[in-house]
């Protein structure tokens, strides 16, 4: 029972990590909280549904993140860059409005009924882990999630571009004086962020269902993760996503329906303890 739960928690956490790290990256560079992130995830999930049913799941897994990174270019060029000098909260609300519009367009196209995607045949089976059958697909989510985090960590810490990203997040003025092109980095980060959201959307299809409320549910979860982790702290967000995944999964089993409230209670508890969130690993602001 417990090993199964841990694996489930890791699968959920992986999705949260992919979402929250993207949010934290954009925030680090642009100081913008993208409230439309949930809607981008929703688009990813629905596009994934279309491509998976038209072609196959593997194609969706490759094509959707690519398409979503194009959306990231749009986000950067049409929203973040022109609004660079606007107040943080104004831009946050604009992205929220864009999120509502995107979600409504998706609902117009696909209708309001929940959809489901079948896992690809290769991953549809289950394996025996510690004596219990466990679906391979969930392991796959965890592996993809963990690989993306490791890749992100290596990129941020071992490459030159990654160093620039950290530098701009840490001290935007100084790094621009040193000749770092923040706009170009921001474009890259926006693409990465939306691509991650798209990937999470495709992955979630066969695991949970795809429904019209998924954008709001995800953006609220992401906000809780980001606030708990300390706004703009990537490692804080990743750690918070991990905790939240575990709390939710174990809560569902041991506390039943109260588990819906757990993320919120956790948020309140952590803020009473530390108003700035966990915020380790050099968060922005």
């Amino acid at each position: 029972m417990i090993p199964t739960l841990i694996l489930n928690a890791l699968a959920v956490s992986s999705l949260y990590i992919m979402m929250a790290s993207g949010l934290a990256l954009i925030f680090g560079l642009r100081r913008v909280m993208n409230f439309g992130h949930g809607a981008i995830y929703m688009v990813g999930a629905y596009l994934g549904y279309t491509i998976a049913s038209g072609m196959n799941f593997w194609a969706a897994l490759v094509i959707v993140p690519l398409l979503m990174s194009v959306l990231g270019v749009l986000l950067e060029l049409a929203v973040l860059r022109p609004l660079e000098r606007r107040q943080q909260i104004e831009v946050a609300l604009i992205t929220f409005g864009i999120g509502i519009v995107i979600a409504q367009i998706v609902i117009r196209i696909y209708g309001g009924t929940p959809l489901s995607v079948a896992a690809p045949p290769l991953l549809a089976s289950s394996v025996k882990i510690f004596g219990a059958d466990y679906p391979v697909y969930r392991l796959f989510i965890t592996v993809v999630g963990l690989c993306s985090v490791v890749a992100l960590a290596v990129w941020l810490n071992a490459t030159r571009t990654g160093m620039f990203v950290r530098a701009v997040s840490h001290a935007p003025d100084v790094s621009s004086m040193m000749g770092i092109n923040a706009n170009r980095l921001s474009l890259l980060i926006s693409m990465l962020s939306t691509a991650f959201a798209g990937l999470a959307g495709v992955l979630v299809g066969p695991y949970l269902s795809i429904d019209p409320g998924m954008d709001v549910a995800m953006i609220i979860t992401c906000m809780i993760v980001v606030v708990i982790g300390g706004t703009g702290s990537i490692w804080g967000a990743i750690f918070a996503a991990l905790i939240l995944g575990f709390v939710q999964t174990f809560g569902t089993v041991y506390l039943h329906e109260i588990s819906v409230l757990l993320p919120y209670l956790m948020l309140v508890a952590i803020l009473v303890w530390r108003p700035q969130g966990l915020n380790f690993g050099g968060g922005a602001e």
Binding site: E90, A92, I94, I100, V101, Q104
Partner: protein
């Protein structure tokens, strides 16, 4: 319509009696309205519009006085409505007692939340307030509380007794509840105006301008804002209780993001430094949403409205006009 500024502005001595007289005339004339509208669509639209207007006043107050964007006002609005409904249904309270206790509960909740959220940064404040409204939406929909809260279907209740001299059953009539809503809107607007121009309001705005300076000058910067937050929660609770009494119903939708967004839109469009603007904004958005809602586009409308308002008039619809006026005056 002239906007009554929340912050103290130099006004000629002649101005106030005229404005006051006009306001009194409008207030009194408002009571005649149900006679002309005879219930119907327009009356219910105005009722809902003013309720949204009160919520918008709350958002505007916190924004103008404390510099926070209160993106979860629905939490206190819905909490008061549910508390009122539950007290009537499960505890057999009379309408008036239920309303009073519900407001106390809301005040206490807002105070506790305020004590936590005032300490965080503005962006986190916005996200936490929104999350708390979602928490409430999930909480009332819990299946095991179904007997108390009605689950996701919402909670019907039949209040008894009198509310300020009006029989609680009559309040379900859109025309009969109007005097209550109309008076409440005026009282709330008046209270917000008085608080804003008082010493307390000045202190709040001074904290907003520069918290550190206020702290160094020996002022407490924490509790005034917690009290302001609690007061605003209470005001939203008034709107919630009235809405519950007017419909005999409390629903999880009262906690939705869309409720909070519309209040925020009404506040920003109307101008957060005014008390007339947010109320007018509430009425106009309620009308617009009902028009677009008939076509099934109400959320799309809200989304587009958020984008346009934040892009073009983040300081309210009157702000560009004022700027133009000022430039013209100088030239």
């Amino acid at each position: 319509m002239t906007s009554l500024p929340l912050s103290r502005r130099p006004a000629s001595a002649m101005h106030w009696p005229v404005l006051g007289g006009a306001a009194l005339a409008v207030f009194l004339a408002g009571f005649l309205l149900p006679g002309y509208l005879e219930g119907g669509y327009l009356q219910s639209l105005l009722n809902n519009g003013l309720i949204t207007g009160i919520l918008a006043l709350c958002v505007a107050f916190i924004m103008h006085q404390c510099g926070f964007v209160l993106f979860g006002i629905a939490a206190y609005y819905g909490l008061a409505a549910y508390a009122c409904a539950i007290l009537v249904n499960s505890f057999g309270f009379s309408a008036m007692a239920a309303a009073a206790v519900a407001l106390l509960v809301t005040l206490a909740a807002a105070f506790l939340v305020g004590a936590i959220v005032i300490r965080v940064k503005p962006l986190a404040f916005m996200m936490i307030c929104l999350s708390l409204a979602e928490l409430m939406r999930h909480f009332v929909a819990l299946p095991s509380l179904r007997r108390t809260t009605g689950g996701s279907d919402g909670l019907l209740f039949m209040p008894e007794g009198r509310v300020f001299g009006i029989d609680a059953m009559d309040l379900l009539d859109t025309g009969q509840v109007w005097p209550l809503i109309w008076t409440a809107t005026w009282v709330m607007a008046g209270l917000f105006l008085i608080v804003a121009t008082s010493h307390f309001g000045v202190r709040l705005r001074a904290i907003k301008e520069n918290e550190e300076r206020m702290r160094f000058s020996g002022f407490d910067t924490y509790w005034p804002r917690v009290f302001a937050f609690a007061g605003v929660g209470l005001a939203a609770g008034v709107a919630g209780v009235i809405q519950a009494l007017a419909t005999g119903f409390a629903s999880p939708e009262m906690f939705s993001i869309i409720t909070s967004t519309n209040a925020l839109l009404a506040a920003i469009t109307g101008g957060v430094s005014s008390v007339v603007g947010p109320v007018m904004g509430g009425v106009i958005y309620t009308w617009a949403i009902s028009e677009f809602g008939a076509l099934g586009y109400s959320q799309l409308f809200t989304g587009i409205a958020v984008i346009l308002v934040m892009l073009f008039i983040p300081k309210g619809i009157l702000h560009p006009l004022r700027l133009l006026g000022r430039k013209g005056g100088r030239a």
